[in-house]
Amino acid sequence: MTLLGTTRKVPKFGARYVLESQIRAMLKFFWLIAAMAILNPLLYLVSFGIGVGSLISQHIGPHGIDGVSYLTFIAPALLASSAIQSSMDETIFSTLEGFKWRKLFFGMNATPQTGNTIAGGVFLAAMVRTVIGVSVYSAILYFFGAMNSPHAYLAIPIAIFAGASFGAIMLAFASHVHNEDLFLTIIGRFLIGPMFLFSGTFYPLKSLPSALQIFGWISPLWHATELGRYATYGHQISVTMVIIHFAFLLVMLVVGLFFGFRQFSRRLAK
């Protein structure tokens, strides 16, 4: 005999309830997210791909960087970068909102939900948004003729993978945050900004001074971009490097999820 009634069972896959509530919250911003998902790639591609691209082809000829048009060159980098951006936005803001701003997680935790299911739900919701965002982005790239190689579609799972890895790390970081102003500043100004700018996004990493190239090596965006470039236009890359790129992203994903889930449970138990 147990004192707990048998009808009150704990839901099996609790994360899906959290996932549902996260997605409902996201739908409130539907138009905003949709507009940004479409406008962002369009505007960046036109502005950088065509605008800056025309300056580059004036200077060094139409097959300037890496033997392809500038638009084709930056396309996989922008795709991976947008995946990282949307998965990160979602994990960071949901986590801060849940622990700090509206303290929603503490309410959820009063139901059969646990730290793990809540963290899982938040992460999965971020992945849903990332997958949708990446799909829209790829479709636009296709129309710009930047996805023409036969295995270009591989760039899609690569970008999603990069989003997952970075989202997982941010989930772990954000769950520790108490001073969110400081955190958001550091993340925005000293992590995301430099990552976007110095990961070989707009020119090959090799053309940076070697001291700055280190930054690319620790950046998931660079690893994903290298893989993406291989997929979309056959950028030269050795098998060893392919393994290193994948291994890096995988380690980030696992470490991020491990520490994220652990901290969610700990913080809720406090």
């Binding site: 505007l43 800056v52 020119y203």
Partner: protein, 276 residues
């Protein structure tokens, strides 16, 4: 009697123009920002000029290698870094001012009810608007000086006229902050704030920061040139590169109009909102 202190102060501007809206004390509102700043995380506020510097390094030197020198208008050839540096200064003036006058103002207006408290005293709505904007401008000034201090030694400001880029950045920030605050006063939900990002992104990407507008057809150039960020870039670029013409006064006038218009609407809206 002691109790007349607050009253006597309030009577000073009595009968003067606009005494319903302006008590001549926006300094107190500015002081409030300063007190809040002292206990906030300094680092957050002061590191604001890092972003344009990073863009400058990445694009100016990274992309610049593949571009070489560039015609900055009137046949003057300059390095790519010198071409984008003034644009980045203008853009960061815009971004800072917009952030301060939208997110921050929205929070104080709707969440923390800070302005309700201020407007229950003998302050008027214009005092609040000016005081808040003044704070944004002081930040903008510090960022502009910080940026110039990094950029000038690298030889990216070929002309001594470039010093004027600092007050110009403040003027630009003033324009954006006034209009930004006016627009924010119409917002009631956080979601609407996203509309601002959507409006700013194309401006950032197409206002001639990263390449001359001549890559576009003529009619598109004309539209872009009328947008505030493009005006700002034209003004600052002319100053840092030393291309001085009387025509620059048109840009200055443009921002003076923005400031007046923005302040006018903001004051009326604050009054209407809090006098409901």
């Amino acid at each position: 009697m002691l109790l007349s202190a607050a009253v006597a102060i309030a009577e000073r501007r009595e009968g003067k123009f606009g005494d319903r809206y302006y008590a001549g004390r926006s300094r107190a509102v500015l002081e409030r920002s300063f007190i809040a700043f002292k206990s906030s995380t300094w680092f957050v506020v002061l590191s604001g000029f890092v972003e344009p510097v990073l863009y400058l390094f990445s694009f100016g030197y990274g992309v610049g290698r593949f571009i070489g020198n560039i015609d900055a208008g009137s046949g003057k050839m300059v390095s790519y870094a010198a071409f984008i540096a003034p644009a980045l200064l203008a853009t960061s003036a815009m971004n800072g001012a917009v952030y301060d006058s939208t997110w921050n103002v929205f929070f104080k207006m709707n969440q923390s009810r800070l302005y309700h408290g201020m407007l229950a005293t003998s302050l008027g709505p214009l005092d609040v608007a000016l005081g808040e904007i003044a704070w944004a401008l002081m930040r903008g000034l510090i960022y502009a000086i910080g940026f110039m201090a990094v950029v000038a030694p690298m030889g990216l400001i070929p002309s001594w006229w470039g010093v004027l880029a600092i007050p110009a950045a403040v003027l630009i920030a003033f324009g954006f902050a006034s209009v930004g605050m006016a627009i924010t006063s119409y917002f009631t939900r956080f979601q609407q704030m996203g509309a601002i990002n959507i409006a700013l992104l194309p401006m950032f990407l197409f206002s001639g920061s990263f390449y001359p507008l001549t890559v576009f057809p003529g009619w598109i150039q004309a539209i872009i040139k009328a947008l505030p960020l493009s005006q700002a870039i034209q003004l600052i670029r002319a100053l840092t590169l030393g291309v001085m013409q009387v025509g620059l006064l048109v840009h200055v006038l443009y921002f003076l109009v923005m400031i007046t218009f923005g302040l006018f609407i903001t004051t009326r809206r604050l009054d209407a909102l809090f006098m409901r």
